[in-house]
Subunit: 592 residues, 2 copies
């Protein structure tokens, strides 16, 4: 059986030492002192370890079942759901006006990492609710907010997002679900949606579906899409539940992983829906939710890597096989633990340096998002918009790769269900696909985010890195091992950006053929920057006489590994980008 | 449902145009004229498409079950097994003296690719038999060969390899299974073996287990291991089956993939065994079998990528989503097929350039193995020994990655069981682990194969590449796009080798920390060489006026993609290697 130990100390290190959240001037951050964040992490960690993690294998083995329209979730999920709800965890960062706890996003992400590592399929039920509630909060009328938010935020009701149809996912302009206006101002929604996570279950009293649909006679394609609230049970004016709406679960998807989450075909058969946001502006409303959700999916990617790495590390310390080539390390045993072997260490350090870097990147991104939410800071908005596809695409690709590496550490045991590593791999796999495939993320990055606002956000990012390098170039710890590699990587990123500007103008395919490599190049620069910040924070504590030297020196050592061995990937990505579109576009589709 | 179309034309291209098998002077190769290889590929392809592929999903869904010691295989497996046996496919490359067809290895590998692509879990039943029969052929007495080989080669009996025990896999010196000598010259074998593929089933009348065990009082560790034949049913002197031996299946492993194959715990409880090969030289006998088996596992890795790519390509041509940014390509449809998008093409070309390169590499390696088997050529033996860990490690790592890429092409559909891509990913995953994890392959490469025979094999490989580059430097098609990148990559490989020589002498960890990167660097150089050979062969046919221009030009275009976009990975691997052991070894095991 796999184990999970909440990395509260590492999370606290990032929040307090690296990001210094309590000293940031973002409104509400003054409450995030070390005692408070420590206490919250501790409580959430206990829940993750004690309640959610033990249900992860159960969820995978049992999956969900559909009988007579009713979806049954795995054993123990209802009890865990109730416990999460009663603890107030579901509304951690929600608006206090509607019963939320009003914590910053950075705190809900730190807590979320632990919940997702412990049980990703379970956590999706509340994750989807969170997304749907965010959209209602941003785009709903005062009445809609009052009707739905309090019960969604406290988990009494849950929520879903309904975008995909059998013939379209990425290209939502093609959707066929229609919403016919009724005389009372409501709409009759009809159509079929697929891959609806948490689409149907009975853990909550009602499910609030957000559904993209077209109103007949509206504009063609993407410009004619509106967003509708379609509750499973109609909500009466007094807030009580009325009739069952004409929305049913038509089937459960059989899939590679996240078996504990009900992935539903949802059939809308003239269901009563309420327009949310402006007519024909459904995509905009959906994207509000999607951008935050993408950050959450990036988190899912690395959170699976976190728990996979923990188990790989435990195995590598216990498993006795072979001897250290430089001298026996475990003379009393029949062999040395495999962590003595350089190739095993290389593998473990790839895992460790990724998950810790990814954690810092995600929480840093969350602080930027908080500035947007709490200060309406335009620069922060530009920056997080730019970083979002990188957070989603890079962290999920590498999160999956890392789970695969962790599985490899266990050799044959990694392939067995007994050790649980293979579930982390299967569960992590979806994160590269949903909320926009990583290919789509890279197009968003290069096609939309790079040129956004005349390139101001990307220039701001370059400045940020440049300034950081300049300020720390002479630092005795950072200078050679950290700043120099970061400068080289950042130079690769700038050169790639310049290539896109020059060559993409001539032929857009020159940019699009390199978009995926650019996303990875960008991700490495971000993780490189994070490792500089982590090493600096660790050194500062050491310089101040902190006695937790093993922990702090490990941060610096792990950072050195990342800078020396992982960051040089940027040169490969740049080399690929500069080959342009020629070899990508040459072959006719018929001749593949 | 996934589909499979046997790539007989591509296989024939490699056999005849690239390798020119019928003109090689290896004994027996003169029979491999184009008509013969074409006819064999055609027949095997039909079997793969019509009989094995339809059972692949069945095998995954049903898996194997154990009841009262009897293992039931999935529906249809018995019938398919009988058909394979009756067609003589199981003994394709086996010794005619024992009923085999005596074909070269290169032919059985070409055929094997199709069988494995169609149904890897099924094909393992005969694959294990093949390995066990090879060991008996190489190390058995005349009597043992006469007793076991004819029925194993015709598939009436099957075989297994028993190495791993719960506490040891890589470090076989630790095994506890013991073999106690009896007065009649037999042994009583007792112990428990795990992860025994095809360990128990009733498709064959008998199962011949090859078991590593220690004779009490023998040398310690790896030097005290002997190999034993332990048949499920004792074979009487007249060849008929006698008593059931004391070997039973104690359980079936629950695992990530290859569900159609019975992965067994095998319990030996004083089972009658017969020593095969020399006393205490069991590892040598096992390695004979393992080296050939590793080539077969490399093939499994890329064969899963082949079928995954086929399905990704089909999807990319059919799925309509978005429009080509340079102009609508499918004006009559609601959107263009996704193969118009540069990032989808990039993904597909990564798949295509890998599977075709891997196929050529594997079949080229097989021709070298045939020289060893048929001519006892020492240089060929040195070369294939060197290449074996690369064939196994690189092709399975990249084969898995490629299956993941193919899954990504399908977006959400790739995550569903319905489309079958996720099974290819799960099945491919084991190839990176068994027959020695890929980490172990890299240690074998750097620790044993590089220094072997004073470095003669690696120097011979460098010469081979150098000569090839020199001979083709002025070729108008090859020169700039192929030879130059190959030279650069080969230079990286040489530099890495020199680094190991210089720095590995000072500290072996400097070499071992870079072994995995070296294995990948080496693999890329090999695939680069293969793409040069394929492009050259295609161009030669074009120059000769061949009218299959689309097929031939596609080879050249795909090769250009590989040389421009994939081969530059060598520089990254070299850069990593040259960072040495410092960052890998710095962190104390306790502080990870």
């Amino acid at each position: 059986m796999p184990t999970y130990t909440a990395p509260t100390k590492d999370l606290q290190f990032v929040l307090q030492d690296v990001l210094g959240v309590s000293s940031l001037d973002t409104p509400g951050y003054d409450e995030l002192d070390a005692d408070t964040t420590g206490a919250i992490l501790e409580e959430a960690g206990k829940l993750a370890e004690g309640v959610l993690a033990p249900l992860n294998t159960v969820g995978d083995e049992q999956g969900c079942t559909l009988e007579n329209g009713v979806v049954r979730v795995p054993d123990g999920f209802q009890e865990a759901y109730d416990q999460m709800r009663e603890g107030g965890w579901m509304g951690l960062d929600a608006d206090p006006e509607y019963g939320g706890q009003g914590m910053p996003v950075v705190m809900s992400m730190a807590v979320g990492e632990m919940f997702v590592s412990a049980n990703m399929a379970f956590n999706m039920y509340q994750g989807l609710t969170h997304g749907a509630a965010s959209a209602i909060h941003a785009h709903g009328t005062a009445e809609q907010k009052a009707t739905y938010l309090p019960k969604m935020i406290d988990g009494t009701w849950s929520g879903t997002m309904n975008l995909t149809e059998p013939h379209c996912g990425t290209d939502l302009g093609l959707i066929r679900t229609k919403a016919e206006p009724q005389e009372d101002g409501t709409y009759k929604v009809s159509g079929s949606k697929i891959w609806i996570s948490a689409g149907e279950h009975e853990m909550s009293d009602n499910i609030i579906h957000l559904v993209l649909a077209k109103i007949p006679g509206g504009p063609e394609g993407i410009k004619g899409i509106s967003l509708f609230i379609v509750p499973k049970y109609i909500v009466n004016e007094d807030g009580s539940l009325g009739d069952r709406n004409a929305v049913t679960c038509g089937g459960l998807e059989k899939k590679m992983g996240i078996h504990g989450n009900a992935t539903c075909v949802m059939n809308y058969d003239g269901a009563t829906g309420y327009l949310i946001g402006d007519l024909h502006k459904g995509m905009r409303a959906m994207f509000t939710m999607m951008n935050d959700a993408r950050l959450g999916v990036g988190l899912q990617g690395y959170a699976q890597a976190v728990v996979a790495y923990e188990n790989a590390l435990g195995f590598a310390r216990d498993r006795l096989q072979g001897r250290d080539i430089t001298g026996v390390k475990n003379p009393d045993g029949p062999a040395d633990p495999i962590i003595v072997h350089p190739d095993v260490r290389r593998n473990l350090l790839m895992q460790k340096s990724f998950v810790e870097g990814a954690r810092a990147f995600t929480l840093w991104g969350s602080t930027i998002l908080d500035k947007v939410h709490r200060e309406k800071d335009a620069d922060a908005d530009g920056l997080i918009s730019l970083l979002t596809p990188v957070l989603k695409g890079f962290l999920t690709d590498k999160g999956f790769d890392t789970a695969v590496l962790a599985q490899q550490t266990l050799g044959g045991s990694g392939f067995t269900k007994e050790w649980g590593l293979e579930q982390f791999v299967r569960d992590a796999r979806i994160t590269m696909i949903y909320e926009g495939t990583n290919g789509v993320q890279s197009l968003d990055l290069v096609g939309r985010k790079l040129p956004a606002n005349g390139g101001k956000p990307i220039m701001a990012f370059f400045d940020l890195v440049k300034t950081y390098c300049k300020e720390n170039a002479e630092d005795p710890v950072l200078g050679k091992d950290f700043i120099e590699p970061l400068k080289a990587a950042s130079k690769d990123l700038q050169e790639a950006g310049m290539y896109f500007m020059a060559e993409g103008m001539k032929n857009p395919n020159n940019a699009l053929s390199g978009s995926y490599d650019f996303m990875h190049l960008f991700g490495h620069v971000c993780l490189g920057l994070m490792w500089c910040k982590m090493a600096k924070a660790a050194q500062a504590r050491l310089d101040a006489g902190d006695t937790d030297t093993d922990f702090l020196n490990a941060k610096i050592a792990t950072g050195k590994f990342y800078m020396a061995r992982q960051l040089p990937e940027t040169a490969l990505h740049l080399a690929r980008i500069k080959t342009g579109a020629d070899t990508v576009m040459e072959l006719d589709a018929a001749n593949f």
